[in-house]
C-alpha cells in the first residue's frame, strides 16, 4: 500500500484503515496457527509439534467433515454464480431491471442466521411447506420421517447459502456493468442474430468477470467456512469443518483447544486451496468458453438454461420471503401444530413476554451497528478523498487487501484475536466488538462507495476549485451532498453486515455482549419457535428499516425543492 499521500490528516487514512482491520487478522491468524502446532503456554502447550494435527486426523469423521465443507462450499458458489448469471442475462435491458436493487434489499439486508432459521421452518418435514400441503394433498397426519435439515449431503445448507448469495452476486454484476459498454455490445450482438440472453452470456459476462472475481471468491470463502448457517441447517454428525472447530474451541476439556486450532488452520488451508484451484481452472474454462462463443450458435442451450436459471432464482427469492414471513407468523402465534397451515391461536404475548429480554440485545445490536458503520464510513471516505487528492487509483493489490477479511475464514483468526483482546484487557467491551465488526463492515462500505465516488463527474470539483474553494470545502459542500444517496446506501449495507455478525460478537465480546444474532442462533438450537420467530423477525426488520430510510431520505430531500 504505497499510495502517494495527500496532504494533512487525510493522508493518514489509508494507514489507519489498514491498521484497523489488518491488525486483528494478522494477530488472530498468529494466535490460531501457533496453538495449531501445540504452542499455547497458558494451558501447558510449550513445544511445537504435530500432535494437534494427529488428533485432528484421528477424529472418526474428519474426512467426511472436510468433504462436506468442500462440497457444500463449491456447490453453493457454483449454484449462486450460475443463478446470478442467468438472472442478469434474462434481466438485461428489461424495464424492471432498473429496480432490482429495491426488490432484493429485503433478502440482502436480512442476516444469514435469520434466513436460515426461516428456511429451517420452511423445509422441515413438519415445516410450513409440508403443513401447507397436508393432509389434503399428501394424506399425512404426522410428519414423514424424511431427513431435510441436517441431511448428510448438506443440501439445506447449500439452499440457504444460494438464496442469500445469488442476490449479492447479482448486485455485484450490475455494479460491474457500468465499466463495460454492455448496452452497445448486446445491441450489436442482437443485430448479428443473437438472442439477448445469449449475447449477454457470450459478450458481457466475459468482460465483467474480472471485476466480479473478488466477490465470487468472497462467496466461496464464506460458503466453505460458514458457521451460523451450518449450525442451524447443516449436518451434525459429523458437521462441516468450521463447526467442528467451533465445537472443539468450546469444549469443556481444555486440551481440545489444540486440535480446534488445527481444525481452524485446516479451514484456512481449504479456503486458500479452493481459491487457488478456482484461479487455475479459469484459463481452462476460458478456452472452452472461447470455442463455444465463436461457434456461432444464435439461440441454443445457453438461452434455455438462462431462462430456467431465472425461474429458479425467482423461486428462491420467493422462498426467502416466505422464510421471513414464517418467522413473522410464529412471533404472533400461540398454538401452531402440524398439519395446520396457519396458527390455530394467535397472541401478542410472545412480544410482550420477550420485550424485557429483548431490550438488551436490541440496543446492543443498534449500538454496535451504528458505531461500526459510522467509523467505517469515515475511514472509507477518508481513503477515497485521499485517493482523489493524491490522484492515485487504488490498485488490485489494495483491493485484495480490502477483501482479506472476507476471504479468511472467521473461525481461523477470531480465536487468536480473542486471546489478543484478553491480553490487552479490552475483551468483552463494546469497543472490542465494534472493532471486530469494523473488520467486516469496512470492506463492504468501501466497495459500495468506491464506484459512485469515482464516477462522480470531476468537473464539479474542478469548477469549485476554480471558484476558490479549498479541498475540504469541496469535500463537504460538493462531493458529500452529491453522494448522499450512495453514502446512505453504504451505511445501510454496513449496518446490515454488522447486525448479521455471529462469531465476531461471540469471540470478541467474550459472551458478555448479546446481540439479536447471537441470541437467535443460541435459541435456534431448539427452543420455542415463537421466541425464535420474534428474534429472527427483528433481525430481519432492523437492517431493512435502515435500508428503507437510506432510499427514501434522499428522495424526500429533493422532492421538497
Amino acid at each position: 500500500m504505497t499510495a502517494p499521500r495527500g496532504a494533512g490528516i487525510v493522508g493518514l487514512f489509508p494507514a489507519l484503515t489498514v491498521a484497523a482491520f489488518l491488525l486483528p487478522i494478522v494477530a488472530g491468524l498468529a494466535g490460531t496457527l501457533l496453538p495449531a502446532f501445540g504452542y499455547l503456554p497458558a494451558i501447558g502447550g510449550n513445544a511445537l509439534g504435530l500432535d494437534p494435527w494427529r488428533r485432528l486426523i484421528a477424529y472418526p469423521g474428519i474426512a467426511t467433515s472436510v468433504i462436506t465443507s468442500l462440497s457444500t462450499g463449491f456447490a453453493a458458489t457454483l449454484a449462486s454464480l450460475a443463478l446470478a448469471v442467468a438472472f442478469c442475462a434474462i434481466a438485461h435491458g428489461r424495464s424492471w431491471a432498473r429496480r432490482i436493487g429495491g426488490f432484493v434489499a429485503p433478502v440482502l439486508s436480512t442476516p444469514h442466521a435469520a434466513i436460515a432459521i426461516g428456511v429451517a421452518f420452511l423445509i422441515a418435514p413438519s415445516g410450513w411447506i409440508a403443513r401447507a400441503i397436508s393432509p389434503w394433498l399428501t394424506e399425512w397426519t404426522l410428519p414423514p420421517d424424511v431427513a431435510t435439515i441436517g441431511h448428510r449431503s448438506g443440501w439445506p445448507l447449500v439452499l440457504c447459502l444460494v438464496a442469500k448469495e445469488t442476490p449479492y452476486l447479482v448486485l455485484m454484476m450490475i455494479g460491474a456493468l457500468h465499466q463495460v459498454p454492455a448496452r452497445g455490445h448486446v445491441m450489436i450482438a442482437r443485430s448479428l442474430g443473437y438472442s439477448s440472453a445469449e449475447a449477454w452470456l457470450k459478450i458481457v459476462l466475459p468482460q465483467i468477470y474480472p471485476q466480479i472475481r473478488l466477490p465470487i471468491f468472497a462467496v466461496l470463502a464464506f460458503s466453505l467456512s460458514v458457521v451460523d448457517v451450518a449450525l442451524i441447517l447443516g449436518p451434525g454428525n459429523p458437521p462441516p469443518l468450521a463447526v467442528l472447530a467451533l465445537r472443539w474451541f468450546s469444549d469443556a476439556d481444555i486440551g481440545y483447544y489444540f486440535p480446534a486450532a488445527a481444525a481452524a488452520s485446516l479451514q484456512l488451508l481449504l479456503v486458500v486451496f479452493a481459491i487457488v484451484a478456482w484461479r487455475l481452472a479459469e484459463p481452462i474454462v476460458t478456452s472452452v468458453a472461447r470455442v463455444w462463443i465463436v461457434r456461432g450458435v444464435r439461440r441454443g442451450m445457453a438461452t434455455v438454461s438462462a431462462r430456467a436459471g431465472f425461474i429458479v432464482a425467482i423461486a428462491l427469492f420467493a422462498g426467502s420471503i416466505f422464510a421471513i414471513a414464517g418467522m413473522a407468523l410464529w412471533s404472533i402465534a400461540d398454538a401452531w401444530r402440524f398439519p395446520s397451515a396457519l396458527p390455530t391461536t394467535w397472541t401478542l404475548g410472545n412480544w410482550s413476554r420477550e420485550l424485557a429480554s429483548l431490550r438488551a440485545p436490541v440496543s446492543a445490536t443498534l449500538l454496535l451497528a451504528t458505531a461500526a458503520t459510522l467509523i467505517a464510513l469515515v475511514l472509507a471516505l477518508g481513503c477515497l478523498e485521499n485517493e482523489t487528492r493524491a490522484r492515485h487509483h487504488i490498485g488490485t493489490r489494495a483491493l485484495w487487501l480490502l477483501y482479506l477479511p472476507l476471504l479468511v475464514p472467521q473461525i481461523a483468526f477470531l480465536f487468536g484475536t480473542q486471546v489478543l483482546l484478553v491480553k490487552t484487557g479490552i475483551d468483552g467491551t463494546l469497543a472490542a466488538v465494534v472493532w471486530a465488526h469494523l473488520v467486516f463492515v469496512l470492506p463492504y462500505v468501501f466497495l459500495s462507495l468506491a464506484d459512485p465516488w469515482r464516477s462522480l463527474d470531476s468537473r464539479y470539483a474542478r469548477t469549485a476549485a476554480s471558484l476558490g474553494a479549498s479541498p475540504s470545502r469541496i469535500f463537504f459542500r460538493i462531493r458529500l451532498p452529491l453522494l448522499l444517496g450512495p453514502v446512505l446506501i453504504a451505511c445501510a449495507i454496513g449496518f446490515a453486515v454488522s447486525v448479521g455478525q455471529y462469531l465476531p460478537t461471540v469471540f470478541a465480546g467474550n459472551g458478555r455482549i448479546a446481540t439479536l444474532t447471537t441470541d437467535a442462533v443460541t435459541l435456534a438450537g431448539g427452543a420455542d419457535r415463537r421466541v425464535i420467530g420474534t428474534y429472527a423477525l427483528l433481525q430481519a426488520l432492523l437492517p431493512m428499516l435502515v435500508y428503507v430510510a437510506a432510499v427514501t431520505v434522499p428522495a424526500c430531500r429533493f422532492a421538497r425543492r
Binding site: T64, L142, G150, N237, S250, D251, R337, G526, A527
Partner: protein
C-alpha cells in the same frame, strides 16, 4: 493454688482468643451481604429454556430488591462456553476481576474446573440456607458423579430421568429400556435421543447401561480397560438393534432437550427422554407440548443428579455470587422453582426437615396429571463415574460418526 487457677484462666483466654481468630478468617455472613450490595453479578447459565431464563430474571429482581445486587444472566449456548472463558482468562493471566461470577453447571464441566483449580471455595458451608439441603437422602447433593463437591459448588436444582410421551398417540407405554426396543420395533421412527455430545443424550446411554450392564455396582468405580468392554457389551448389542429404528434411522439427532421437545410438539416423534420430571406439565402450560403428554418413570429406577452453581477462582464479585447462591437455596425460592407453572425444577432441600411454614409452601404446590408422584420417582440412581460417560460417548462417536 491461686497460680494454677490463673494459669487455667490464661489458657482459657488463649483458647478463646484462638477460636476467635479461627472465625475471623471467615467473613461473617452479614459482612458478605454488606460487601455484595451494589455488585453486578454475571450469572453464566444455559439459556435454552425460556422458563429457566424467566426464573433467573425473577431471581434478579428479588436479589436486586433485597440485597441491592444487579444480576445479569449471560446466556450460554452450552455451559462449556463459560469454562472456556475462565480458561482463556487464566491463560491471559487475569486472576482477579474475572468476567464470570457464577456458573450453573454439573458433571463434566464442574469436574473440569475443579480439577484445574479454577474454582473459588469451599464456600457452600458459609451459606446460611445450606443447612436445609438434603445431604443424607440425596447423595447427588454432595457427590457429583462420584467426585465429592468439597463445598466448591452449591446445589440449586435436581433432575431425574423420565420419559415423556404423547398419550393421544401411543397407548403401549414402555417401562424399561428393553421394552423401549420392543416398542420401537412396533413404531419405527417415533422416538430418538439427543446427540450423545449433549449431556441428556449421553445420559440416555447411561440409563441403558445401568439396566443392561451385568454388574451395575461397578459403574460407581472408574472404568478400566478390563471391565469397560464387559460392562458395555450388552449396551451396544441393544443399541445396534435400536438405532435403525430411531427417528431419521439414527443418522441424525436433535442437538439438545428443547430441540427434541420441538420434535414431539411437531408430531415427528411420540416419545422422548427428559431430565426434568415436570417437563411435561411445564411445557403443556406454555403451549410447547400438546395437552395429551404424560410422564413415565422406568421401573428399576432412573438416574438422578443435582446441578449446582459454582464461583470461578477469579470472579470479580464473589460476595454477590454467594448471596445469589444462598438465595437460590431459600425455601420459598426452591418452592417457587418446583412449581410447574414457574420452572418445575425439583428441590434439593430436605422438605420433611424444613420448618413448618416452609414445608407448607411445598405442600401447597399445584398438582397436574402429567406430574409424576414422588412414589413413582423413587430413589434416584446415582450417576456413574464420569469415566464411563466419556468412554461411552467416545465409543459412540467412533462407531457412528463416519
Amino acid at each position: 493454688m491461686t497460680r494454677g487457677r490463673t494459669e487455667l484462666r490464661f489458657c482459657a483466654l488463649v483458647l478463646i482468643a484462638l477460636s476467635f481468630s479461627v472465625f475471623a478468617e471467615d467473613m461473617p455472613w452479614n459482612d458478605i451481604v454488606a460487601k455484595a450490595r451494589g455488585q453486578a453479578v454475571n450469572f453464566n447459565a444455559w439459556a435454552g429454556d425460556e422458563k429457566t431464563n424467566a426464573f433467573i430474571a425473577w431471581v434478579g429482581t428479588e436479589v436486586g430488591q433485597r440485597y441491592g445486587i444487579k444480576l445479569r444472566q449471560v446466556k450460554l449456548r452450552d455451559t462449556a462456553e463459560a469454562v472456556t472463558r475462565v480458561v482463556a482468562e487464566k491463560a491471559a493471566g487475569r486472576d482477579a476481576l474475572g468476567t464470570v461470577d457464577l456458573i450453573w453447571l454439573n458433571g463434566p464441566n464442574f469436574l473440569a474446573l475443579k480439577a484445574e483449580h479454577l474454582l473459588y471455595g469451599p464456600f457452600s458451608a458459609k451459606l446460611p440456607n445450606y443447612r436445609y439441603v438434603d445431604t443424607t437422602h440425596i447423595r447427588s447433593n454432595v457427590v457429583d458423579f462420584t467426585i465429592p463437591l468439597d463445598g466448591f459448588a452449591s446445589p440449586w436444582r435436581r433432575a431425574q430421568i423420565v420419559f415423556v410421551y404423547d398419550g393421544a398417540r401411543i397407548s403401549d407405554v414402555p417401562h424399561s429400556m428393553a421394552q423401549l426396543l420392543a416398542w420401537a420395533k412396533r413404531h419405527p421412527g417415533r422416538t430418538t435421543h439427543p446427540s450423545v455430545r449433549n449431556f441428556l443424550g449421553a445420559t440416555f446411554l447411561k440409563q441403558a447401561l445401568y439396566e443392561l450392564a451385568p454388574d451395575a455396582q461397578q459403574l460407581q468405580e472408574p472404568a478400566t480397560d478390563a471391565n469397560f468392554a464387559v460392562q458395555t457389551a450388552p449396551l451396544w448389542v441393544w443399541y445396534e438393534q435400536l438405532r435403525p429404528l430411531l427417528w431419521r434411522h439414527g443418522e441424525q439427532f436433535p442437538d439438545n432437550g428443547p430441540a427434541q421437545r420441538q420434535l414431539v410438539n411437531d408430531g415427528e416423534i411420540d416419545m422422548m427422554i427428559s431430565f426434568s420430571p415436570a417437563e411435561a406439565a411445564v411445557a403443556q402450560a406454555a403451549e410447547q407440548l400438546p395437552s395429551s403428554v404424560r410422564t413415565v418413570v422406568f421401573d428399576g429406577g432412573t438416574i438422578g443428579n443435582t446441578s449446582f452453581v459454582a464461583i470461578p477462582y477469579n470472579a470479580a464479585h464473589k460476595e454477590g455470587a454467594m448471596v445469589v447462591a444462598n438465595f437460590l437455596l431459600e425455601p420459598s425460592t426452591q418452592a417457587r422453582a418446583q412449581d410447574y407453572r414457574e420452572m418445575g425444577a425439583y428441590t434439593v432441600l430436605d422438605v420433611d426437615a424444613l420448618p413448618h411454614a416452609d414445608r407448607a409452601l411445598f405442600d401447597a404446590l399445584p398438582r397436574h396429571p402429567a406430574l409424576p408422584t414422588s412414589a413413582e420417582l423413587r430413589t434416584p440412581l446415582p450417576e456413574p463415574h464420569p469415566s464411563w460417560m466419556t468412554g461411552i460417548a467416545a465409543q459412540w462417536e467412533r462407531r457412528y460418526t463416519k
